[in-house]
């Protein structure tokens, strides 16, 4: 990164890169896009890779926080350090401009942050565009060329990517088994300073797919843009890199070329490119057909009610939208085109009972439930097929036996293990709220979730409640199916588990009735003395 200012890179490319780097900061992004690549059709917007701004911060602590936040896919709050942009949500519905005004600060604020002296020997990126969620698998072979131990490897993402990233998982293969680490991936220093190490990274940039044309009629198929860079954006020098992009079908309208580029059936290969300076990029656009319904749940609220009398009741409120190319023209039930949201499949735990599926009008009967020993599958179909831009909202509820999910440990705490995410397959949730309603009298509730969520405590009232039930509320933005893993809520319960308080309150009410009867019969209300 310092090479940019001091010009230590000797290759001619660096000049172009330098001016491009400056240009993209201060000029309109389209200018740079057209100049740098051989895209033959107008690119309405360019997705560029974001520098890891945290490397410019002088303090290592701040960097660690940001990098950790990056890795977990959470969007950091400060806008001063991150290059932030005005896209809302994971889908580039509005298309265009990405770069905004925070960037000049980057140029000024470049302190002497010590970057570990590491080069990337080989990087291979596989991007899977088969569904509506983009999944990228990055394999890095990193070598430490400095004299000191390098404890971290910094990954850089562009602004749009950083905003859309839902989940990053990193692991280092050691021997035959993979060990997963979640924070900045540690390069194993060992005794020699230049031991190459492999690093595998999987992350889901959440749908950086833009439907183009933005509006289609019912029977047309959907074409989307995917914007990326041919060179991996990295703060390190990369010796060799290749990018493979896999599309769902063979129909690719166009793709930008950055030689050597090759296309075989559904797979596009960009590379191998040799010896790229740090922060090099080259925007590419792939325009291909993707007829997957882009099912986005705009808001999902899951309420899990725990009752010690033996059941767990889950109620889920969905607001589902189809975020693909907007539908235009007439809708005809006879002419069902290739792109409409069909059946949604929800995977529920086994031994589920009393499943209902209703919306504001009433019960929706287009559903099927199948269960086996390991899971239950609920197939639901909305009342009407969803085309681009259409929405549906409904409620799904089911009951589960308590002994599958609630456990008691010897130290007296009780643990509830339940899955966090949305049970619908291949859907993205913009805003997910999970509320766990614990029985009355539970003390010290605490939740532990494998990824960062917002937590708070509330009180909710239900049947036979006097003081209210403590409720743990967990919120997450931008959840993908990979977030559908178990989380835990633990409570302390001092008195026995039988919550006979409810019965005691009812008994008390009846006794009050009898007592008032007795009191009435013993009082003399006659006017005349008898």
């Amino acid at each position: 990164m310092d090479g940019r200012e001091s010009g230590t890179n000797s290759s001619g490319q660096s000049t172009e890169f330098m001016s491009a780097w400056y240009a993209k900061r201060f000029l309109h992004p389209d200018v740079v896009a057209v100049r740098n690549s051989s895209i033959s059709f107008p690119s309405s917007s360019r997705k560029e890779r974001r520098e890891d701004c945290s490397t410019r911060e002088p303090s290592q602590q701040r960097w660690k926080e940001h990098a950790a936040a990056e890795v977990h896919g959470e969007r950091p709050r400060e806008r001063g350090v991150r290059c932030d942009f005005g896209i809302d949500g994971p889908y580039l519905r509005h298309g265009d401009v990405i770069i905004t005004q925070q960037l000049p600060r980057l140029l000024i604020n470049r302190g002497m942050c010590p970057l570990p002296a590491v080069t990337v020997v080989n990087s291979e990126i596989k991007i899977d565009l088969a569904s509506s969620i983009v999944r990228a698998y990055v394999t890095l072979k990193v070598e430490n060329i400095g004299s000191s131990d390098a404890l971290e490897v910094v990954l850089a993402f562009s602004p749009t990517q950083a905003k859309s990233i839902a989940l990053i998982r990193a692991s280092t293969p050691e021997g035959k088994r993979k060990k997963k680490t979640y924070t900045p991936l540690a390069v194993n220093p060992t005794t020699l300073p230049d031991t190459p190490a492999d690093a595998q990274l999987a992350f889901n940039p959440n749908a950086l797919l833009e439907p183009f044309p933005a509006e289609i009629s019912q029977s047309e198929s959907q074409l989307v843009y995917y914007r990326d860079t041919a060179f991996m954006l990295s703060p390190y020098h990369i010796k060799e890199q290749t990018t493979h992009i896999k599309t769902p079908s063979k129909k690719i309208e166009s793709y930008s070329r950055e030689d050597p580029t090759n296309r075989v059936g559904t797979e596009l290969r960009y590379g191998p490119y040799d010896d790229r300076p740090p922060y090099s990029f080259s925007p590419i656009i792939v325009h291909f057909e993707n007829n997957n319904p882009f099912a986005v749940v705009e808001e999902l609220t899951r309420v899990i009610e725990v009752s010690h009398w033996g059941s767990l009741q889950v109620t889920e409120h969905y607001k589902l939208a189809h975020a693909g190319a907007r539908h235009k023209g007439v809708f005809s039930r006879l002419l069902v085109g290739p792109l409409h949201s069909g059946i949604f499949l929800a995977t529920l735990p086994p031994r589920v009972h009393s499943v209902y599926y209703r919306d504001e009008i009433g019960n929706v009967s287009t559903s099927h439930l199948r269960s086996d020993q390991h899971k239950s599958e609920l197939e639901i179909e909305p009342r009407y097929p969803l085309f681009g831009g259409w929405k549906a909202s409904f409620v799904i509820g089911y009951g589960l036996p308590l002994h599958d999910f609630l456990f008691e440990s010897p130290d007296g705490r009780r643990y509830l293990n339940f899955s966090f995410g949305c049970p619908l397959m291949e859907t993205v949730v913009d805003h997910l709220t999970v509320k766990v309603v614990l029985p009355e009298g539970s003390k010290n509730p605490s939740a532990s979730v494998p990824f960062p969520v917002k937590q708070k405590l509330e009180t909710s009232f239900s049947y036979l409640d006097v003081v209210g039930r403590p409720t743990v509320v967990l919120e997450k933005e931008n959840a993908v199916p990979e977030h559908n893993i178990f989380f835990q809520v633990s409570i302390l319960r001092l008195q026995p588990s039988v919550d006979a308080r409810g019965a005691a309150h009812v008994s008390g009410a009846f006794f009050l009735l009898f007592f008032s009867c007795v009191a009435y019969l013993h009082t003399d209300l006659s006017i005349r003395k008898s």
Partner: protein, 78 residues
């Protein structure tokens, strides 16, 4: 945690809920009936407050638990 944690289930087997509800409510209603019969038949000066209140207490306990089990057997897990 998995090997030392034991699953928690209801203290009373769930299959018993409807039966328990029925019998508790039956006993509670019999006690209520006995309370009101006592009030109606025994003359005012022979009534003993203690007997009234104890019958009322027994009736209310059984009615309370009976209605709890009635709610549980109906699926309202309180």
């Amino acid at each position: 945690m998995a090997n030392s944690a034991k699953p928690i289930s209801s203290p009373v087997p769930q299959e018993w809920y409807p039966t328990l509800a029925f019998f508790m409510l039956a006993v509670g209603l019999v006690a209520t009936a006995s309370f009101f019969i006592y009030e109606a038949t025994v003359s005012k000066k022979n009534r003993s407050v203690l007997k009234e209140l104890s019958t009322g207490a027994v009736a209310s306990v059984f009615l309370g638990f009976g209605s709890l089990f009635l709610l549980l057997s109906a699926g309202v897990y309180v």
